[in-house]
């Protein structure tokens, strides 16, 4: 059983894992969450802008939104991160200081906003046209009917897809390490990778992987839960009621209605 021993030592060396655990928790997990949540938050705002531009009547809003989406969705994430992280390094230095961390977040935000924009656009366009018409028939303008009625319905529908997108961002956040992070800025992957190189053992990376799964797997199940809940919709539980009961109720209810019903 020599090979089993080798396997265990390579991947499941609990000593090496215990050694890296504090760093993975205090530095790696923290930074992965900061990067992912920040990139998602910015991505949601930008994505909504791109989506609203994308369904606009004006082609001068629609075409830039289309190009933006094609660009950031079409390029490999690593390429976008490197181009932005290194290309704007000097510019970023004057605002954020020498750390490439903010640029990494911005690059991830741009990538995710392209995907999120498409998710929002699909959601908004799936809302029945009658909703917008009902709003306009009541005298609401386009902006108001979108903001108060159409967009909220669209968002509710795409919540599962947005959670999926967050999972993708969590995984992609590992790519930021290419920009060369300070020791205190390392995310899960980089912390695990450094420890693996130092100890000559892959166990720290395995532990980093477990941390990713701890974030992503529950979310995947949350998606399924959302999906079920929003697909079936909530109804007040009630026994089947005869339509005739409603007729009777109506006759009793209103002077306006019963008055003309002799």
């Amino acid at each position: 059983m020599d090979w089993l021993n080798t396997l265990t030592r390579t991947f499941f060396d609990f000593g090496a894992m215990a050694e890296v655990l504090p760093q993975l928790l205090g530095v790696g997990l923290l930074n992965t969450l900061i990067i992912s949540i920040a990139a998602t938050a910015i991505g949601l705002v930008l994505g909504m802008v791109v989506a609203v531009m994308g369904i606009s009547q004006s082609r001068w809003l629609r075409i830039p939104a289309r190009i933006y989406t094609d660009l950031f969705r079409g390029l490999p994430a690593i390429l976008t991160i490197l181009l932005i992280g290194q290309g704007f390094a000097r510019f970023s230095q004057s605002i954020f200081g020498p750390s490439p961390y903010p640029l990494g977040i911005i690059a991830l935000s741009l990538i995710s906003s392209a995907y999120i924009g498409e998710i929002f656009r699909a959601g908004i366009q799936s809302v029945d046209k009658g909703q917008g018409e009902a709003c306009r028939a009541l005298g609401m303008g386009y902006a108001k009917s979108m903001a108060l009625v159409v967009v909220p319905q669209g968002i509710r529908r795409v919540l599962p897809a947005l959670v999926n997108q967050f999972i993708a961002i969590v995984k992609d956040s590992s790519l930021v390490y290419f920009l060369g992070l300070l020791v205190s800025e390392r995310e899960l992957f980089r912390v695990g990778q450094d420890a693996a190189v130092l100890s000559g053992n892959l166990s720290p990376l395995v532990l980093a992987g477990i941390f990713y799964l701890v974030i992503t797997v529950p979310l995947t199940h949350l998606v399924n839960y959302f999906d079920n809940k929003f697909r079936t919709g909530r109804r007040r539980p009630s026994a089947p009621t005869s339509g005739l009961k409603e007729v009777k109720e109506l006759d009793a209810a209103s002077p306006l209605i019963s008055g003309s019903n002799t």
């Binding site: 009902a134 306009r136 009541l138």
Partner: protein
Amino acid sequence: MSLASSTNNSPGTSSPVVETFHGSSLELKNLTMAYGDIEVLRNVSLTVAPGTTTCIIGPSGSGKSTLLRGINRLHEPKSGDVLLAGESALQVKPDILRRRIGMVFQHFNLFPDHTALENVALALWSVKGMSKAEARERAQRRLAEVGLAERADHRPRDLSGGQQQRVAIARALAMEPEVMLFDEATSALDPELVKGVLNLMAGLGKRGMTMVVVTHEMGFARKVADQVVFMDEGEVVEAGTPADLFDNPRSERLQRFLSEVL
């Protein structure tokens, strides 16, 4: 269909005071409407006196719905004019015009994530600029009028079709329109619920609302309408009193239509 005239509503009975409406006149002058290059309505002229009910009947594809959508400019007319209370409706901003014209749709188009009360109140605060408390108070009163006081906190999916359509009518009425447009308001309802909605509509007419009603309910048209208009292939073929059209149809097309539907 029993839509005989009422005696219960006369002053002096114990029923609550039912307020009256002040419907405006409506006039269409050579209205022509098109989808792209295809003209679906040609030179339609029509006069609707204040406080009267005009029923529009005709086979599918005759342009009835398009006519309604031209009146509140959900679809912009190609040429001709619409006069509301004697003034051209094409000269004012559509949003302003639509506050004066209520519309009820075949598929209700209620906002599914709003309760019945919120459905009615939404445009009151967002368009009319009422305070939310004021809007809710008026919405509650309007719901009571259509016999739904106790269903105010139900969402549309928890209401029957008939109840949903009555919420939609309350929503339109709450804006205090001068004209109400009904686009096949009972076509999507279960048969036993049709009468309740038609009686409600008849009651509005009696209280002085100007109404244009696209309908397949010939009994309603005969009993309630002051004027019946028969349309086919985008033109008004015959218009007159219910007795004129139903008892003495002159055109061959109307004779054939009536023989099919009655």
